[in-house]
């Protein structure tokens, strides 16, 4: 790496000016893990976001998490622990190792958007929004942020917002990995809100296919309006496994991934059914 400069701006305007001036040679760092491991050779400048006051977990119409908040800080925050029956803790405690969770930030994970990320499918099904700054502040749905990122844009992420969940709702998550803290071969998150015992809102996302997590909208639509019983879960999980676009890579074959999708969706939905007391 040819890193020569280190900047620590004290406000977002100043940080943005550094990116505007230096382009891709300037890399934002929260914890800095991904820049250390994966930074492109043209990186010359670190822009440390630690001076921007973005490490916090607040209860604002749900949850607002500052971009430089570490996973450990989220896990240890009372608001983070309470959110939707503790789902953030349940998932984040399975992300990387404690050593890395003490450093890695929620903004960094979205900025890197690794296809194996466990956080991204979770946040997709929780209907997260991302606050970004690119000369002006705006808030956009996570999927839209990921699309702009895929198109090559690199806005400065300032906050992640999670909405207040509906009254009878729950989230289930499943991850398949080779060792306790290895990255996922495949992961799966489901969210269901019930109304009179029927699925009113359904969100299902699968990551590590081996591409970046996306929602399975056809499968979501099939479950919407149904009750969350065992036969329905089996049918929906089979449908997810049959319809998903999965590929081979060095971690797993497409065929194995297809099985994991079926099992992952099934377990995640079963977990939701358990959390909601069977019928909700």
């Amino acid at each position: 790496m040819g890193i020569r400069d280190y900047l620590k701006p004290t406000n977002v305007e100043e940080a943005w000016a550094a990116f505007a001036e230096r382009g891709r040679a300037a890399k934002p760092i929260g914890g800095g893990i991904d820049v250390l491991l994966y930074a492109a050779p043209e990186t010359t400048t670190l822009v440390d976001l630690a001076g921007l006051g973005m490490s916090y977990v607040r209860g604002e119409d749900g949850l607002a998490v500052g971009a430089t908040t570490t996973f450990t800080e989220i896990i240890e925050s009372p608001l983070g622990r309470e959110y939707l029956g503790g789902i953030l803790i349940e998932v984040l405690e399975r992300v990387a190792s404690p050593l890395q969770r003490n450093v890695g930030t929620i903004g960094g994970t979205l900025g890197s958007a690794h296809p194996w990320s466990d956080v991204i499918p979770l946040l997709l099904v929780l209907a997260a929004e991302v606050s970004i700054y690119e000369g002006r502040q705006r808030v956009l749905p996570l999927a839209e942020y990921l699309a702009t990122r895929a198109a090559g844009e690199r806005p400065l992420i300032t906050e992640v917002r999670l909405p207040t969940p509906p009254a009878v709702s729950a989230c289930g998550f499943e991850k398949f990995n080779a060792t306790g803290f290895d990255v996922a071969v495949l992961n799966c998150a489901c969210f269901v809100a019930l109304d009179s015992g029927r699925c009113k809102t359904v969100r299902i996302a699968v990551g590590g296919t081996p591409r970046l997590a996306t929602r399975l909208t056809t499968v979501e639509d099939a479950l919407t309006g149904a009750s969350l019983d065992g036969a329905t879960i089996d049918w929906i999980a089979a449908m997810a496994g049959e319809t998903i676009d999965v590929r081979d890579d060095w971690r797993a074959s497409a065929g194995y991934r297809r099985d994991l999708v079926r099992v992952g969706v099934s377990r995640s939905l079963q977990r939701i059914a358990e959390k909601l007391g069977g019928t909700g």
Binding site: I3, I33, L46, S97, P98, G180, F181
Partner: protein, 155 residues
């Protein structure tokens, strides 16, 4: 560039490269208990406490320690007495080749600072990220339980 920090309680002003890893800075400053394993955050041999939390020093830019406090395994003993976690590893044979030990001790110190009475499951999860290629982790886990008891004043 120049940073100021404390390393094992000593105030230091040090000249560093902006892209340098904390691991390399600490070893240059003589903290050889900070081991080089994978340099990728996979093994935990380089773990140190940064502002009280265990981190892979290979995954942290040295500049992130500016104004902060770093404790390596060399800084755990007090008045010539080993830290209870070190003593428990020694007493319980939680060491074979010893390469993972400094990092694992640091990880255990962080764990016990937040959870003074961890279950075996919590210890296993708390020490995920520390690889030991000699043992089956049994004696290290036992050592952490003994250290926890000692730190609670039960032994």
């Amino acid at each position: 560039m120049t940073i100021t920090l404390t390393i094992n309680g000593a105030h230091r002003t040090l000249s560093i490269e902006p892209g340098e890893r904390l691991l390399d800075l600490l070893r240059r400053e003589g903290c050889m208990g900070v081991k080089i394993g994978c340099r990728a955050g996979d093994c935990g041999a380089c773990a140190v406490l940064l502002n009280g939390r265990a981190v892979n020093s290979c995954l942290v830019f040295a500049v992130k320690a500016d104004g902060g406090e770093v404790v390596t395994v060399e800084g755990l003993e007090r008045d010539g007495r080993l830290h209870p976690v070190q003593q428990a590893f020694l007493d319980g044979g939680g060491i074979q080749c010893g390469y993972c030990t400094p990092g694992m001790v640091i990880g255990a110190v962080d764990l016990l600072s937040r959870n003074p009475d961890p279950t075996e499951d919590e210890i296993r999860k708390g020490l995920a990220g520390h690889l030991c290629r000699c043992t089956g982790y049994v004696k290290q886990i036992r050592a952490v339980r003994r250290a926890a008891a000692a730190m609670r004043g039960e032994r």
